[in-house]
């Protein structure tokens, strides 16, 4: 039987606020245990939550970026469960009327655009952290993370492969960073994915029983966990078994998923509106004000690069993978408006390559867009060849001569020889010294031509303008 895999993702994006969602404690990562857990985060008797405007703003911003409906009023609810890193005995979340309802995200998988519908995105607080080791039979609780604002973004089951799921997660990851609501740091847990996976016979429109795989904190694990889980479900069904709805954990070291607990339904959590929090009103004026701060979105910019700069869809996609890269490209191309493709190639090639090699982000790129533009100008005006430019680039990257392209070219004598008479003189010398190859070429040996070019370039240490050398040599040999 042919099987179809059906996937929906839940992503928890930690919002980039300074303080927590319901208290004034800091959200900074990596502080000593419990130094950022105040009375509200600890749930001491008598305390009351007060909602952080910055968290709501970020949720609205996200909603606008995905074309969703912003609910007003929006309601906070208690989700009840018992665990020591949740001191209140309930998590403040949203159930009915989340801030963000609907919307969609366009992903590219296998070169095809596909729109993935979002169900909702709601605000909630994170729980603390439990440490199970080294406390002589006790568990240690750190509540620094308790109360950190999260936006849980839930997709419809529109994804059909692990590749699409990863494309969706990456697009979402790029988007939340682009609009500045989440730092996207996956090592620190700022962006976590849960995957709901089910399988069904191809052609069926009924959903199969799903399993939820928790806490996938890298795109690679997301892909592998889904692949494993889909295979497991298909094998179970083909052997005549049934799938039990449950929560599973992905074990990266064994590359498999295993049962964590049987899945709770919503009513197990006894959701009800939190009486401590009044309904949240979001005025149209507030929405408009946030809309005006929204940057041009990645999809729009990508399309603009194709029409405005005549770049390929692939190039435009790479350059708009982060806002910082796109900004870097645009400031570079502003100084070389006719050379967009040259700028694109250098940023995607040399710049990205060196950044990867040094393990740094484009924000910390040692070569500014102005410095790069100065270098590329010298390629486009024929002062240096593209090959020589790479040598200049290397010197600039290493900080030589104030990263000034012209200074490096002058100091190293890399200026291209573009003077016709100088090149002619060189060509004559090389021809005189290689009489055999000249005869070979005239007898029809095409290869001899390239060999002669090589000799000339070698004699000038690669500085002769290759196009001119080509023309002059051809003229001399045939003339």
């Amino acid at each position: 039987m042919q099987w179809e895999i059906v996937i929906g993702l839940e992503v928890h994006a930690q919002l980039s606020t300074h303080s927590k969602i319901f208290s004034g404690a800091s959200t900074a990562y990596g502080a000593p245990p419990n130094t950022q857990a105040c009375v509200i985060d600890l749930a001491l008797p008598g305390v009351l939550p007060v909602l952080n405007k910055g968290a709501v703003e970020r949720a609205i911003k996200f909603g606008l970026a995905v074309g969703a409906k912003i609910n007003s009023p929006s309601i906070f609810a208690r989700k009840n469960y018992f665990y020591p890193d949740l001191p209140k005995g309930y998590q403040i979340s949203q159930y009915e009327l989340p801030v963000v309802q609907g919307g969609s995200i366009v992903i590219q998988a296998d070169g095809v655009d596909k729109s993935i519908r979002l169900t909702r995105a709601h605000l909630e607080e994170d729980a603390g952290k439990s440490l199970h080791e080294d406390f002589h039979g006790m568990s240690g609780i750190d509540l620094n993370r308790a109360g950190t604002p999260l936006l849980e973004i839930v997709s419809e089951p529109d994804l059909r492969s692990s590749i699409e799921a990863v494309a969706y997660a990456k697009t979402l990851h790029a988007l939340v960073r682009w609009i500045g609501i989440c730092d996207g740091n996956m090592q620190e847990g700022s962006f976590r994915c849960d995957a709901n996976v089910s399988v069904r016979p191809r052609g069926s429109d009924k959903l199969g029983t799903r399993c939820e795989i928790k806490n996938l904190n890298s795109f690679r694990f997301l892909e592998r966990a889904i692949d494993y889980e889909a295979r497991r479900q298909i094998e179970t069904l083909e052997d005549g078994g049934t799938i039990r709805q449950e929560t599973r954990l992905y074990d990266a070291s064994k590359d498999e998923t295993r049962t964590m607990r049987s899945k709770e339904d919503a009513n197990d959590y006894r959701y009800f509106p939190d009486p401590d929090l009044l309904p949240l009103e979001i005025s149209s004026g507030w929405i408009e004000q946030i809309q005006s701060t929204l940057p041009e979105l990645p999809q729009a910019r990508c399309n603009r690069y194709v029409t405005e700069f005549k770049l390929s869809a692939y190039d435009a996609g790479v350059l708009t993978s982060s806002r910082e890269t796109a900004d870097y490209f645009e400031t570079t191309v502003k100084q070389l408006p006719t050379q967009a493709k040259l700028c694109a190639n250098w940023i995607m090639g040399e710049i990205n390559g060196q950044l990867n090699k040094d393990g740094i982000e484009i924000n910390d790129c040692p070569i500014s867009s102005a410095q790069l533009a100065a270098l590329l100008t010298r390629i486009s005006d024929g002062t240096i060849s593209g090959k020589t430019a790479k040598t200049v680039f290397e010197s600039m990257w290493n900080g030589e001569l104030d990263k000034d392209a012209d200074a490096v070219i002058a100091a190293k004598g890399l200026k291209q020889i573009s003077d016709d008479s100088a090149i002619e003189k060189l060509v004559d010398e090389v021809l005189a010294a290689n009489a055999q190859q000249v005869t070979d070429y005239r007898n029809g040996k095409e290869k001899a031509f390239n060999s002669l070019i090589g000799q000339i370039m070698k004699a000038t240490q690669g500085k002769a303008n290759p196009a001119q050398v080509n023309t002059i040599l051809k003229k001399k040999l045939t003339g």
């Binding site: 245990p33 007060v50 909602l51 039979g137 568990s139 929090l277």
Partner: protein, 95 residues
């Protein structure tokens, strides 16, 4: 929904409440009254009524995103039953 005296005694037992026969009968009357009230309310047609999440027609006040709390973990931990390495200790929990 109809309750029996046995139901009441079982609920009392589960709630660790000591209850004698006459109290059980009295409680049965009170609880049945509450259930009757719920039944009357459920008979009302609410299809056109918008669900209400709060009794008052007022909205949430928001605070600015500012850090206002300082580190006082030593003070808070002074009333905790057990603390080690700045962590609150609880009986072991493993899923």
């Amino acid at each position: 929904m109809t309750l029996s005296v046995n139901d009441v005694k079982r609920i009392a037992d589960l709630a660790y409440i000591e209850i004698n026969d006459s109290e059980a009968t009295e409680t049965l009357d009170q609880l049945s009254g509450i259930f009757n009230l719920i039944e009357s309310m459920q008979a009302v047609d609410t299809t056109e009524v918008e669900p209400m999440s709060h009794a008052q027609n007022v909205f949430q006040r928001l605070r600015e995103d500012e850090i206002t709390e300082t580190d006082q973990h030593a003070l808070y931990q002074s009333i905790a039953p057990q603390v080690e390495a700045d962590l609150y200790l609880v009986p072991q929990v493993i899923e």
